[in-house]
Symmetry: C2
DNA sequence: TTTATTTGGGAACATTCATTCCCTAATATA
DNA sequence: TATATTAGGGAATGAATGTTCCCAAATAAA
Protein backbone atom coordinates (compact mmCIF):
# COMPACT_ATOMS: atom_id res chain seq x y z
CA UNK A 1 0.00 0.00 0.00
CA UNK A 2 2.78 2.44 0.91
CA UNK A 3 4.58 1.64 -2.31
CA UNK A 4 1.37 2.35 -4.23
CA UNK A 5 1.02 5.64 -2.37
CA UNK A 6 4.63 6.47 -3.21
CA UNK A 7 3.70 6.16 -6.87
CA UNK A 8 0.71 8.41 -6.35
CA UNK A 9 2.92 10.94 -4.57
CA UNK A 10 5.31 11.00 -7.51
CA UNK A 11 2.64 11.77 -10.08
CA UNK A 12 0.64 14.17 -7.88
CA UNK A 13 3.82 16.13 -7.11
CA UNK A 14 4.71 16.38 -10.76
CA UNK A 15 1.34 17.13 -12.34
CA UNK A 16 -0.81 18.29 -9.45
CA UNK A 17 -4.33 17.11 -8.67
CA UNK A 18 -6.44 18.10 -11.66
CA UNK A 19 -3.93 17.21 -14.38
CA UNK A 20 -3.48 13.72 -12.95
CA UNK A 21 -5.95 11.29 -14.51
CA UNK A 22 -7.00 7.96 -13.07
CA UNK A 23 -4.97 6.45 -15.88
CA UNK A 24 -1.86 8.28 -14.66
CA UNK A 25 -2.58 7.05 -11.15
CA UNK A 26 -3.10 3.41 -12.07
CA UNK A 27 0.18 3.46 -14.03
CA UNK A 28 2.11 5.12 -11.20
CA UNK A 29 0.56 2.96 -8.47
CA UNK A 30 0.80 -0.26 -10.55
CA UNK A 31 -2.83 -0.98 -9.78
CA UNK A 32 -5.82 -1.43 -12.06
CA UNK A 33 -8.74 1.00 -12.00
CA UNK A 34 -10.95 -1.27 -9.96
CA UNK A 35 -8.23 -1.92 -7.42
CA UNK A 36 -7.68 1.79 -6.85
CA UNK A 37 -11.39 2.26 -6.19
CA UNK A 38 -11.40 -0.76 -3.89
CA UNK A 39 -8.68 0.81 -1.76
CA UNK A 40 -9.91 4.43 -1.92
CA UNK A 41 -13.36 5.96 -2.15
CA UNK A 42 -12.39 8.26 -5.01
CA UNK A 43 -9.55 10.28 -6.52
CA UNK A 44 -9.78 12.84 -3.76
CA UNK A 45 -9.24 10.12 -1.16
CA UNK A 46 -6.14 8.91 -3.00
CA UNK A 47 -4.83 12.45 -2.90
CA UNK A 48 -5.52 12.73 0.82
CA UNK A 49 -3.71 9.46 1.46
CA UNK A 50 -0.74 10.51 -0.64
CA UNK A 51 -0.62 13.90 1.07
CA UNK A 52 -0.61 12.29 4.51
CA UNK A 53 2.24 9.99 3.64
CA UNK A 54 4.15 12.78 1.87
CA UNK A 55 4.05 15.11 4.87
CA UNK A 56 4.96 12.32 7.29
CA UNK A 57 8.04 11.43 5.23
CA UNK A 58 9.08 15.05 4.76
CA UNK A 59 8.71 15.90 8.44
CA UNK A 60 10.90 12.94 9.33
CA UNK A 61 13.55 13.94 6.75
CA UNK A 62 13.59 17.48 8.08
CA UNK A 63 13.93 16.33 11.67
CA UNK A 64 16.84 14.12 10.70
CA UNK A 65 18.50 17.04 8.93
CA UNK A 66 18.10 19.19 12.04
CA UNK A 67 19.63 16.46 14.19
CA UNK A 68 22.88 16.85 12.26
CA UNK A 69 23.47 20.22 13.96
CA UNK A 70 25.33 20.46 17.27
CA UNK A 71 23.44 23.55 18.49
CA UNK A 72 20.27 25.46 17.64
CA UNK A 73 21.95 27.65 15.09
CA UNK A 74 23.52 24.72 13.26
CA UNK A 75 20.24 22.81 13.35
CA UNK A 76 18.48 25.69 11.58
CA UNK A 77 21.28 25.79 9.02
CA UNK A 78 20.96 22.10 8.28
CA UNK A 79 17.20 22.41 7.88
CA UNK A 80 17.70 25.17 5.31
CA UNK A 81 20.37 23.17 3.52
CA UNK A 82 18.04 20.19 3.44
CA UNK A 83 15.29 22.28 1.87
CA UNK A 84 17.61 23.56 -0.83
CA UNK A 85 18.74 20.01 -1.50
CA UNK A 86 15.16 18.76 -1.88
CA UNK A 87 14.32 21.73 -4.12
CA UNK A 88 16.92 20.69 -6.67
CA UNK A 89 17.49 17.89 -9.14
CA UNK A 90 14.86 15.30 -9.90
CA UNK A 91 12.93 15.85 -6.68
CA UNK A 92 13.05 19.61 -7.12
CA UNK A 93 11.66 19.33 -10.66
CA UNK A 94 8.96 17.00 -9.41
CA UNK A 95 7.87 19.55 -6.83
CA UNK A 96 6.49 19.72 -3.31
CA UNK A 97 3.03 18.39 -2.59
CA UNK A 98 2.37 20.95 0.14
CA UNK A 99 3.22 23.85 -2.15
CA UNK A 100 1.26 22.25 -4.97
CA UNK A 101 -1.80 21.74 -2.82
CA UNK A 102 -1.59 25.24 -1.41
CA UNK A 103 -1.46 26.76 -4.87
CA UNK A 104 -3.86 24.48 -6.75
CA UNK A 105 -6.44 23.54 -4.13
CA UNK A 106 -6.56 25.93 -1.19
CA UNK A 107 -8.94 28.27 -3.01
CA UNK A 108 -11.46 25.56 -3.90
CA UNK A 109 -11.00 22.74 -1.38
CA UNK A 110 -11.41 23.79 2.28
CA UNK A 111 -10.35 20.39 3.59
CA UNK A 112 -7.05 20.46 1.72
CA UNK A 113 -6.51 24.10 2.69
CA UNK A 114 -6.85 23.09 6.35
CA UNK A 115 -4.30 20.32 5.92
CA UNK A 116 -1.90 22.64 4.13
CA UNK A 117 -2.09 25.37 6.76
CA UNK A 118 -1.70 22.76 9.49
CA UNK A 119 1.45 21.46 7.83
CA UNK A 120 2.85 24.96 7.35
CA UNK A 121 2.21 25.75 11.01
CA UNK A 122 3.88 22.52 12.10
CA UNK A 123 6.99 23.34 10.06
CA UNK A 124 6.97 26.91 11.32
CA UNK A 125 6.69 25.80 14.93
CA UNK A 126 9.55 23.37 14.41
CA UNK A 127 11.85 26.11 13.12
CA UNK A 128 10.75 28.53 15.86
CA UNK A 129 11.61 25.79 18.37
CA UNK A 130 15.08 25.37 16.88
CA UNK A 131 15.63 29.13 17.12
CA UNK A 132 14.64 29.10 20.79
CA UNK A 133 16.97 26.17 21.39
CA UNK A 134 19.73 28.24 19.83
CA UNK A 135 18.92 31.16 22.09
CA UNK A 136 19.02 28.82 25.09
CA UNK A 137 22.38 27.32 24.10
CA UNK A 138 23.86 30.70 23.21
CA UNK A 139 24.31 30.10 19.48
CA UNK A 140 21.58 32.60 18.50
CA UNK A 141 21.26 36.12 19.98
CA UNK A 142 18.30 36.63 22.34
CA UNK A 143 17.00 39.67 20.46
CA UNK A 144 16.02 37.54 17.44
CA UNK A 145 12.23 37.22 17.21
CA UNK A 146 11.71 33.48 16.91
CA UNK A 147 8.15 33.64 15.53
CA UNK A 148 8.70 36.34 12.90
CA UNK A 149 11.96 34.76 11.78
CA UNK A 150 10.41 31.31 11.56
CA UNK A 151 7.52 32.63 9.46
CA UNK A 152 9.92 34.32 7.09
CA UNK A 153 11.97 31.14 6.84
CA UNK A 154 8.84 29.16 5.99
CA UNK A 155 8.24 31.61 3.16
CA UNK A 156 11.81 31.03 2.03
CA UNK A 157 11.52 27.27 2.08
CA UNK A 158 8.20 27.23 0.23
CA UNK A 159 9.63 29.69 -2.27
CA UNK A 160 12.64 27.44 -2.77
CA UNK A 161 10.30 24.68 -3.91
CA UNK A 162 8.61 27.04 -6.38
CA UNK A 163 11.90 28.28 -7.80
CA UNK A 164 13.31 24.76 -7.85
CA UNK A 165 10.32 23.49 -9.81
CA UNK A 166 10.97 26.25 -12.35
CA UNK A 167 14.46 24.73 -12.53
CA UNK A 168 16.53 27.73 -11.49
CA UNK A 169 19.82 26.47 -10.06
CA UNK A 170 20.17 26.81 -6.29
CA UNK A 171 23.45 26.78 -4.40
CA UNK A 172 22.76 25.42 -0.94
CA UNK A 173 25.85 26.71 0.83
CA UNK A 174 25.53 30.21 -0.60
CA UNK A 175 21.78 30.55 -0.02
CA UNK A 176 21.90 29.07 3.47
CA UNK A 177 24.88 31.27 4.24
CA UNK A 178 22.97 34.41 3.30
CA UNK A 179 19.83 33.23 5.10
CA UNK A 180 21.74 32.71 8.34
CA UNK A 181 22.05 36.50 8.60
CA UNK A 182 18.45 36.36 9.80
CA UNK A 183 19.79 34.81 13.03
CA UNK A 184 22.26 37.65 13.70
CA UNK B 1 -9.95 42.90 -24.68
CA UNK B 2 -7.86 43.85 -21.65
CA UNK B 3 -10.96 43.78 -19.45
CA UNK B 4 -11.71 40.28 -20.76
CA UNK B 5 -8.14 39.23 -20.00
CA UNK B 6 -8.47 40.69 -16.52
CA UNK B 7 -11.39 38.34 -15.96
CA UNK B 8 -9.32 35.43 -17.24
CA UNK B 9 -6.48 36.43 -14.92
CA UNK B 10 -8.83 36.42 -11.96
CA UNK B 11 -10.09 32.90 -12.56
CA UNK B 12 -6.73 31.46 -13.66
CA UNK B 13 -5.08 32.86 -10.51
CA UNK B 14 -7.74 31.38 -8.29
CA UNK B 15 -8.23 27.95 -9.84
CA UNK B 16 -5.13 27.44 -11.97
CA UNK B 17 -5.08 26.18 -15.54
CA UNK B 18 -6.57 22.70 -15.45
CA UNK B 19 -9.36 23.38 -12.98
CA UNK B 20 -10.59 26.34 -15.02
CA UNK B 21 -13.19 25.21 -17.56
CA UNK B 22 -14.20 27.10 -20.67
CA UNK B 23 -17.44 27.77 -18.83
CA UNK B 24 -15.52 29.44 -16.01
CA UNK B 25 -13.63 31.49 -18.58
CA UNK B 26 -16.67 32.67 -20.53
CA UNK B 27 -18.31 33.74 -17.27
CA UNK B 28 -15.23 35.59 -16.04
CA UNK B 29 -14.48 37.19 -19.41
CA UNK B 30 -18.15 38.02 -20.12
CA UNK B 31 -17.81 36.43 -23.54
CA UNK B 32 -19.61 33.51 -25.14
CA UNK B 33 -17.80 30.32 -26.06
CA UNK B 34 -17.59 31.18 -29.74
CA UNK B 35 -16.27 34.64 -29.03
CA UNK B 36 -13.47 33.32 -26.87
CA UNK B 37 -12.42 30.96 -29.67
CA UNK B 38 -12.65 33.81 -32.19
CA UNK B 39 -10.19 35.86 -30.12
CA UNK B 40 -7.87 32.99 -29.07
CA UNK B 41 -6.85 29.79 -30.78
CA UNK B 42 -7.55 27.66 -27.72
CA UNK B 43 -7.56 27.62 -23.92
CA UNK B 44 -3.79 27.55 -23.82
CA UNK B 45 -3.62 30.74 -25.86
CA UNK B 46 -6.02 32.46 -23.44
CA UNK B 47 -3.72 31.44 -20.61
CA UNK B 48 -0.68 32.81 -22.44
CA UNK B 49 -2.46 36.09 -23.05
CA UNK B 50 -3.55 36.35 -19.43
CA UNK B 51 -0.05 35.49 -18.23
CA UNK B 52 1.49 38.18 -20.39
CA UNK B 53 -0.86 40.85 -19.11
CA UNK B 54 -0.51 39.65 -15.50
CA UNK B 55 3.28 39.89 -15.51
CA UNK B 56 3.23 43.28 -17.23
CA UNK B 57 0.89 44.69 -14.58
CA UNK B 58 2.82 43.14 -11.70
CA UNK B 59 6.19 44.39 -12.95
CA UNK B 60 4.77 47.89 -13.20
CA UNK B 61 3.31 47.70 -9.68
CA UNK B 62 6.63 46.50 -8.28
CA UNK B 63 8.55 49.24 -10.02
CA UNK B 64 6.19 51.84 -8.61
CA UNK B 65 6.65 50.38 -5.12
CA UNK B 66 10.44 50.60 -5.50
CA UNK B 67 10.18 54.21 -6.62
CA UNK B 68 8.76 55.11 -3.20
CA UNK B 69 12.20 54.55 -1.61
CA UNK B 70 14.74 57.35 -1.36
CA UNK B 71 17.79 55.08 -1.63
CA UNK B 72 18.60 51.52 -2.71
CA UNK B 73 17.99 50.07 0.71
CA UNK B 74 14.60 51.72 1.05
CA UNK B 75 13.63 50.70 -2.46
CA UNK B 76 14.29 47.04 -1.60
CA UNK B 77 12.24 47.45 1.57
CA UNK B 78 9.29 48.87 -0.35
CA UNK B 79 9.43 46.04 -2.87
CA UNK B 80 9.26 43.50 -0.04
CA UNK B 81 6.42 45.40 1.62
CA UNK B 82 4.57 45.47 -1.68
CA UNK B 83 4.94 41.69 -2.07
CA UNK B 84 3.57 41.08 1.41
CA UNK B 85 0.67 43.41 0.66
CA UNK B 86 -0.18 41.58 -2.56
CA UNK B 87 0.11 38.21 -0.76
CA UNK B 88 -2.67 39.14 1.64
CA UNK B 89 -6.39 39.72 1.56
CA UNK B 90 -8.48 39.04 -1.52
CA UNK B 91 -5.54 39.18 -3.93
CA UNK B 92 -3.45 36.97 -1.69
CA UNK B 93 -6.20 34.36 -1.52
CA UNK B 94 -6.59 34.52 -5.28
CA UNK B 95 -2.91 33.79 -5.75
CA UNK B 96 -0.05 34.66 -8.08
CA UNK B 97 -0.14 33.50 -11.68
CA UNK B 98 3.62 33.10 -11.88
CA UNK B 99 3.72 30.87 -8.82
CA UNK B 100 0.67 28.99 -10.04
CA UNK B 101 2.17 28.40 -13.48
CA UNK B 102 5.52 27.36 -12.02
CA UNK B 103 3.87 24.79 -9.76
CA UNK B 104 1.14 23.49 -12.06
CA UNK B 105 2.68 23.70 -15.51
CA UNK B 106 6.46 23.88 -15.49
CA UNK B 107 6.77 20.08 -15.37
CA UNK B 108 4.50 19.45 -18.35
CA UNK B 109 4.54 22.62 -20.47
CA UNK B 110 8.01 23.71 -21.64
CA UNK B 111 6.72 26.95 -23.14
CA UNK B 112 5.13 28.07 -19.89
CA UNK B 113 8.18 26.96 -17.93
CA UNK B 114 10.33 29.20 -20.13
CA UNK B 115 8.03 32.16 -19.48
CA UNK B 116 8.03 31.51 -15.75
CA UNK B 117 11.81 31.29 -15.47
CA UNK B 118 12.15 34.41 -17.62
CA UNK B 119 9.83 36.28 -15.27
CA UNK B 120 11.65 35.04 -12.18
CA UNK B 121 14.97 36.12 -13.66
CA UNK B 122 13.57 39.55 -14.52
CA UNK B 123 12.38 40.04 -10.96
CA UNK B 124 15.65 38.75 -9.57
CA UNK B 125 17.69 41.07 -11.78
CA UNK B 126 15.50 43.99 -10.68
CA UNK B 127 16.18 43.30 -7.00
CA UNK B 128 19.88 42.73 -7.61
CA UNK B 129 19.95 46.09 -9.36
CA UNK B 130 18.31 47.79 -6.39
CA UNK B 131 20.91 46.23 -4.08
CA UNK B 132 23.74 47.54 -6.26
CA UNK B 133 22.11 50.98 -6.26
CA UNK B 134 22.10 50.81 -2.49
CA UNK B 135 25.76 49.89 -2.43
CA UNK B 136 26.51 52.81 -4.73
CA UNK B 137 24.55 55.30 -2.61
CA UNK B 138 25.97 53.92 0.64
CA UNK B 139 22.73 52.58 2.11
CA UNK B 140 23.81 48.92 1.72
CA UNK B 141 27.25 47.57 2.77
CA UNK B 142 29.56 46.62 -0.10
CA UNK B 143 30.21 43.11 1.23
CA UNK B 144 26.60 42.05 0.53
CA UNK B 145 26.47 39.63 -2.42
CA UNK B 146 23.84 41.18 -4.68
CA UNK B 147 23.13 38.05 -6.74
CA UNK B 148 22.86 35.55 -3.89
CA UNK B 149 20.77 37.94 -1.82
CA UNK B 150 18.47 38.69 -4.74
CA UNK B 151 17.93 34.99 -5.41
CA UNK B 152 17.08 34.38 -1.78
CA UNK B 153 14.67 37.32 -1.82
CA UNK B 154 12.97 35.93 -4.90
CA UNK B 155 12.45 32.70 -2.96
CA UNK B 156 10.98 34.74 -0.12
CA UNK B 157 8.59 36.63 -2.36
CA UNK B 158 7.39 33.52 -4.18
CA UNK B 159 7.00 31.78 -0.85
CA UNK B 160 4.97 34.71 0.45
CA UNK B 161 2.46 34.09 -2.33
CA UNK B 162 2.25 30.41 -1.42
CA UNK B 163 1.75 31.12 2.27
CA UNK B 164 -0.68 33.94 1.52
CA UNK B 165 -2.78 31.65 -0.67
CA UNK B 166 -2.95 29.22 2.26
CA UNK B 167 -4.32 32.25 4.17
CA UNK B 168 -1.70 32.49 6.92
CA UNK B 169 -1.67 36.08 8.19
CA UNK B 170 1.38 38.11 7.18
CA UNK B 171 2.57 41.25 8.93
CA UNK B 172 4.35 43.37 6.32
CA UNK B 173 6.32 45.60 8.68
CA UNK B 174 7.53 42.72 10.83
CA UNK B 175 8.45 40.41 7.95
CA UNK B 176 10.12 43.13 5.92
CA UNK B 177 11.93 44.27 9.04
CA UNK B 178 13.39 40.81 9.61
CA UNK B 179 14.20 40.37 5.91
CA UNK B 180 16.18 43.62 5.84
CA UNK B 181 18.82 41.88 7.96
CA UNK B 182 19.88 40.25 4.71
CA UNK B 183 21.22 43.66 3.64
CA UNK B 184 23.41 44.05 6.75
C1' DT C 1 -31.51 50.50 -49.97
C1' DT C 2 -29.03 46.31 -50.69
C1' DT C 3 -25.23 43.62 -50.06
C1' DA C 4 -20.84 42.16 -47.68
C1' DT C 5 -18.37 41.71 -43.64
C1' DT C 6 -17.57 41.44 -39.16
C1' DT C 7 -18.77 40.42 -34.32
C1' DG C 8 -20.89 37.98 -30.68
C1' DG C 9 -23.53 34.04 -29.32
C1' DG C 10 -24.75 29.25 -28.32
C1' DA C 11 -26.03 24.59 -29.81
C1' DA C 12 -23.77 20.26 -31.44
C1' DC C 13 -19.77 17.13 -31.38
C1' DA C 14 -16.11 14.13 -30.24
C1' DT C 15 -13.19 13.11 -26.62
C1' DT C 16 -11.69 12.39 -22.12
C1' DC C 17 -12.56 11.70 -17.48
C1' DA C 18 -14.04 9.67 -12.95
C1' DT C 19 -16.70 6.12 -11.47
C1' DT C 20 -19.28 1.73 -11.38
C1' DC C 21 -19.99 -2.98 -12.38
C1' DC C 22 -18.82 -7.52 -13.01
C1' DC C 23 -15.67 -11.13 -13.88
C1' DT C 24 -11.61 -14.07 -12.62
C1' DA C 25 -8.14 -15.91 -9.62
C1' DA C 26 -6.49 -16.67 -5.14
C1' DT C 27 -6.95 -17.44 -0.38
C1' DA C 28 -9.38 -18.66 3.76
C1' DT C 29 -13.12 -21.43 5.91
C1' DA C 30 -15.95 -25.46 6.80
C1' DT D 1 -12.55 -31.39 -0.71
C1' DA D 2 -16.07 -28.01 -1.29
C1' DT D 3 -17.49 -23.52 -0.33
C1' DA D 4 -17.17 -18.68 0.94
C1' DT D 5 -14.68 -14.58 0.88
C1' DT D 6 -11.49 -11.55 -0.58
C1' DA D 7 -8.33 -9.12 -3.89
C1' DG D 8 -7.30 -7.60 -8.37
C1' DG D 9 -8.32 -6.43 -13.08
C1' DG D 10 -10.64 -4.20 -16.94
C1' DA D 11 -14.67 -3.22 -19.81
C1' DA D 12 -18.94 -0.29 -19.73
C1' DT D 13 -21.14 4.14 -18.45
C1' DG D 14 -22.57 8.67 -17.82
C1' DA D 15 -21.05 13.21 -17.08
C1' DA D 16 -18.10 16.96 -18.22
C1' DT D 17 -14.61 19.02 -21.08
C1' DG D 18 -12.47 21.53 -25.09
C1' DT D 19 -13.46 22.58 -29.64
C1' DT D 20 -16.04 23.38 -33.93
C1' DC D 21 -19.83 24.86 -36.56
C1' DC D 22 -23.41 27.68 -37.77
C1' DC D 23 -26.73 31.31 -36.78
C1' DA D 24 -28.25 36.17 -35.88
C1' DA D 25 -27.41 40.94 -35.28
C1' DA D 26 -24.83 44.89 -36.28
C1' DT D 27 -21.89 47.55 -38.97
C1' DA D 28 -19.57 48.87 -43.33
C1' DA D 29 -19.60 49.09 -48.32
C1' DA D 30 -21.93 49.42 -52.76
Amino acid sequence: MDTALDGAIRVFCERGYHATSIGDLTAAMRLATGSVYKAFRDKHAVFLGAFGRYTAVRVEQTRRAAARGANGRERVRHVLLSYVEHSQGAEGRRGCMVVGSAVELSAVDPEMRARVTAQLKTNEAFIAGLIREGQADGSIPGHVDADDTARLMICMTQGLRVVGKARLPLDGERLAGVAMKLLA
